[in-house]
């Protein structure tokens, strides 16, 4: 009863094409933004910022980026870690090689570098499909691992090949405290989310989805696969590259190639799928779920007052994590976003079952 469209008539196509056509949704989003920008900064402590919000937000950005590629365009990629690495290392190189360049611009340039790499590695997708492509993207993963540890130029010849950076400073404003970092990341996420939403509801988004659902038919309609696929690779790797730069500069502060290894790629894919393929909210839900679940499981015994060795706890954590993933997929293969949607549909019907 609380979630009703009844009585809300759309009188123009413009209104119907709004992102949130239903009034309740608008209020809902406004409340979330308020919570994000005002309430949380007032309440949260340092641990919550550093260990929860900042990583979740950055991962949400990466997950949204990957979702554009996997969920919307249907090209499965296991190379997100690599794109993040490219974003991070490129941003670093722009920063040290062009003095006084605004770090935010460096992040964007990092993203653009990832775009270039993404487009190049997207080319095989014109021929290779499905899991063949997924596995083939691992080539990029291993290649970047190798490149950034073997070609010293990228790491500015630091002897060990790991990089350390100072807090980001924009126009004299230093993002050094957790709360500032949080707000920086959140702002970036909001902007990118809007961009993503705009893209997927427009011509490009439809071209991606058409390619995903049936690429032959899409081509017959006049959507060039080369354009659709490569643009998806480009935009997706841009998002992921920026996320990588943020991850490196804002979250880690210091990193080595291992920080962007294949496990990261898998986690991001997890987020996308658990969250919901082809859903922007899904990317966020997935990022929160996959990042927080292990922390939660890890702390659970302590909260429950169960005394267990850390090894036992983390083995259990693995088991429960795996089991939950299977459970969620079995309940709803289309992810958390779909569960959310069905809940809404049920709310709409409530109190009637159908």
């Amino acid at each position: 009863m609380f979630y009703r469209e009844a009585g809300q008539f759309k009188t123009s196509y413009k209104a119907d094409q709004a992102v949130f056509p239903i009034f309740q949704d608008k209020v809902f989003v406004a409340i979330w933004l308020l919570i994000g920008f005002v309430v949380i900064p007032m309440l949260a402590n340092e641990y919550v910022f550093r260990a929860i919000f900042i990583p979740v937000i950055i991962m949400a950005l990466a997950a949204i980026g990957l979702n554009l590629l996997v969920g919307y365009c249907g090209q499965v990629s296991l190379g997100s870690g690599a794109f993040m690495a490219v974003g991070a290392y490129a941003a670093y190189n722009f920063m040290i090689r062009i003095p006084d360049l605004n770090p935010l611009i460096c992040f964007l340039l990092g993203g653009l570098s990832a775009t270039v790499v993404g487009v190049i590695f997207g080319i095989p997708s014109l021929r290779i499909k499905g899991f063949y492509l997924a596995v083939a993207t691992l080539a990029l993963q291993f290649f970047t691992d190798w490149t950034f540890s073997r070609i010293d130029w990228f790491t500015n010849y630091t002897p060990s090949g790991s990089i350390a950076v100072q807090p980001v400073a924009v126009w004299g404003f230093v993002f050094d405290s957790p709360i500032r970092k949080y707000l920086l990341c959140l702002t970036v996420l909001v902007i990118f989310t809007i961009i993503a939403k705009n893209l997927v509801r427009g011509r490009i988004g439809r071209a991606w989805m058409a390619t995903r659902d049936m690429d032959v038919a899409a081509e017959i309609i006049g959507i060039r696969p080369i354009f659709a696929k490569l643009s998806a690779f480009a935009v997706s790797s841009f998002f992921i590259g920026v996320a990588g730069a943020l991850w490196a500069f804002v979250h880690l502060g210091s990193w080595e190639p291992l920080a962007f290894d294949i496990n990261l790629s898998f986690s991001i894919l997890f987020m996308v799928i658990i969250g919901g393929l082809g859903s922007i909210v899904g990317g966020m839900l997935g990022a929160a779920f996959i990042t927080l679940l292990p922390l939660f499981l890890n702390q659970l015994p302590i909260w429950l007052g169960i005394n267990m060795s850390t090894a036992m706890v983390s083995h259990l954590e693995y088991m429960i994590f795996g089991a939950l993933i299977i459970f969620f997929l079995a309940v709803e293969p289309l992810g958390l976003a779909r569960i959310w949607q069905i809940t809404k549909e049920k709310l709409r019907l409530w109190p009637f079952p159908h």
């Binding site: 641990y47 540890s149 060990s160 790991s162 350390a164 100072q166 890890n298 850390t310």
Partner: protein, 443 residues
């Protein structure tokens, strides 16, 4: 199983008993009169076989201090383990989670991985918590002027590499005789593995030996081509800078290509039981540099009687005194002694990270202290200062005899005339990039 935790599965009655005995040994983190020490450990994932004994040694030393001495000068120690899985992002989360626990926050962090060390190095100065990176981390962080919060006590990779070259010099009748020799570095392709390269290159140009670098990709399960190259080039020595499964695989492959084991020398992270046991007899004769070897000193006997006999051991009895166990134990001993030192200035109560930092920087462990610690014969005196956060430039080699490790040399010193300038230039570069002041120690 090894990981069944606090209770010893072999004798359940004792396990029940332990609940009461645990009092005073395992102190709750919320105890306001206890010094809190965070423990980052990895008991899962590809490096678990190495991580478990280190964590056991570390925590059991803390426990035995509580059990035997009633804490450090009466201040009990509380600790909490956080599983990192050897992953940097998880380590950061652990760091954030643990840094404010206990009445005074974390006394000191031992990141237990080179990657995590790099990441936490940036955060520690802000939180004012010192880092001890015993035998790992960045070698130039020994310069306390630039890295006031980092303490690579007891040996950096550069020291280890220098000790190895010195040893090769010794057995060849002088460093000059290395001229024309071929030395191959088989290394884990990560910052950890690359850390010794600058030093080895410098040494190579000094003594005119040929250094070939052979990277091995993580996790190191496939090394055929590396060892085919070695069979072809037949280097005089192979330095093995590996970690985890890479080490035992290397030794097996060496057997495969019939490269003599006694010409292979490992870093201390490639010189423990898990590294040689899977290769069993093939590994006989293999040597590695070591901070501390296997064996049981007085303190182990205390651990066995205070903890294991009371059913409070974390692992199996046989594990007490293995190489990595001892590494963890030694690491904990250094932490405890630093706190003790700091108490001498700030009083016998739980101290803050900043206060503990002073204790570490002024740490001075003499032969007498080593006796008192129950580590006689296992430890080398350490003396830290503002400009020297390492405190020691020597290590011993030990050799695997098929059953156990035994020392094969006496303490060998690295050459500070070589090391110091490298530390200086590397840390200066770092300071310049980060815009740091380098004069902290000059006064």
């Amino acid at each position: 199983g090894q990981d069944e935790g606090e209770s010893n599965s072999n004798n359940p009655p004792e396990a029940t008993k332990s609940a009461s005995n645990a009092e005073g040994i395992i102190v709750d983190v919320s105890d306001d009169n206890a010094q809190f020490i965070p423990v980052l450990s990895y008991r899962t994932g590809p490096y678990a076989p190495n991580g478990m004994p280190v964590a056991n040694g570390f925590t059991e030393y803390l426990k035995v201090i509580n059990a035997r001495d009633g804490g450090i000068n009466g201040v009990k120690i509380s600790f909490e383990e956080c599983e990192t899985g050897y992953a940097t992002a998880r380590s950061i989360e652990c760091y954030e989670r643990l840094k404010n626990k206990g009445p005074t926050g974390a006394a000191v962090f031992n990141p237990m991985s080179t990657g995590a060390t790099f990441a936490i190095t940036e955060k520690a100065p802000v939180d004012k918590i010192p880092l001890i990176t015993m035998g790992y981390g960045r070698s130039e962080s020994r310069n306390g002027g630039v890295f006031p919060w980092n303490f690579p006590i007891y040996g950096t990779y550069w020291t280890a590499a220098d000790v190895l070259i010195t040893h090769l010099g010794n057995i060849n009748g002088g460093l000059d005789n290395l001229k024309g020799k071929k030395i191959a570095l088989v290394y884990h392709d990560s910052p950890f593995g690359k850390e010794p390269i600058p030093l080895l290159e410098k040494r190579a140009s000094m003594h005119d030996f040929e250094l070939s670098k052979l990277p091995v990709t993580h996790p190191g399960v496939e090394q055929k081509s590396t060892w085919i190259k070695i069979r072809k080039e037949q280097p005089d020595y192979v330095l093995l800078w590996g970690w985890g499964v890479m080490n035992s695989t290397a030794i097996k492959e060496a057997t495969g290509v019939r490269y003599p084991r006694d010409q292979i020398y490992g870093i201390w992270w490639a010189g423990a039981e898990p590294d040689v046991r899977p290769a069993a007899a093939d590994a006989v004769g293999y040597q590695a540099v070591s901070m501390i070897s296997s064996g049981q000193a007085q303190v182990h006997k205390d651990i066995l009687s205070y903890l294991y006999d009371a059913g409070l051991g974390s692992g199996e009895r046989e594990g007490v005194g293995e190489v990595l166990y001892n590494v963890g134990l030694l690491n904990a001993a250094l932490v405890v002694e630093s706190i003790r030192k700091a108490q001498s200035k700030y009083g016998e109560k739980p101290l803050t990270g900043e206060q503990v930092r002073w204790g570490i920087e002024n740490l001075n462990i003499t032969e007498q202290n080593i006796q008192d610690l129950g580590l006689a014969g296992y430890m080398y005196p350490v003396n830290l200062s503002c400009s020297d956060h390492e405190g020691k430039r020597a290590a011993r080699l030990h050799r695997w005899n098929g059953e156990s490790w035994e020392y094969s040399t006496d303490w060998i010193s690295g050459d500070d005339a070589v090391l110091q300038p490298m530390v200086k230039s590397a840390s200066d570069t770092y300071a310049k990039e980060a815009g740091l002041d380098t004069t902290a120690c000059d006064s």
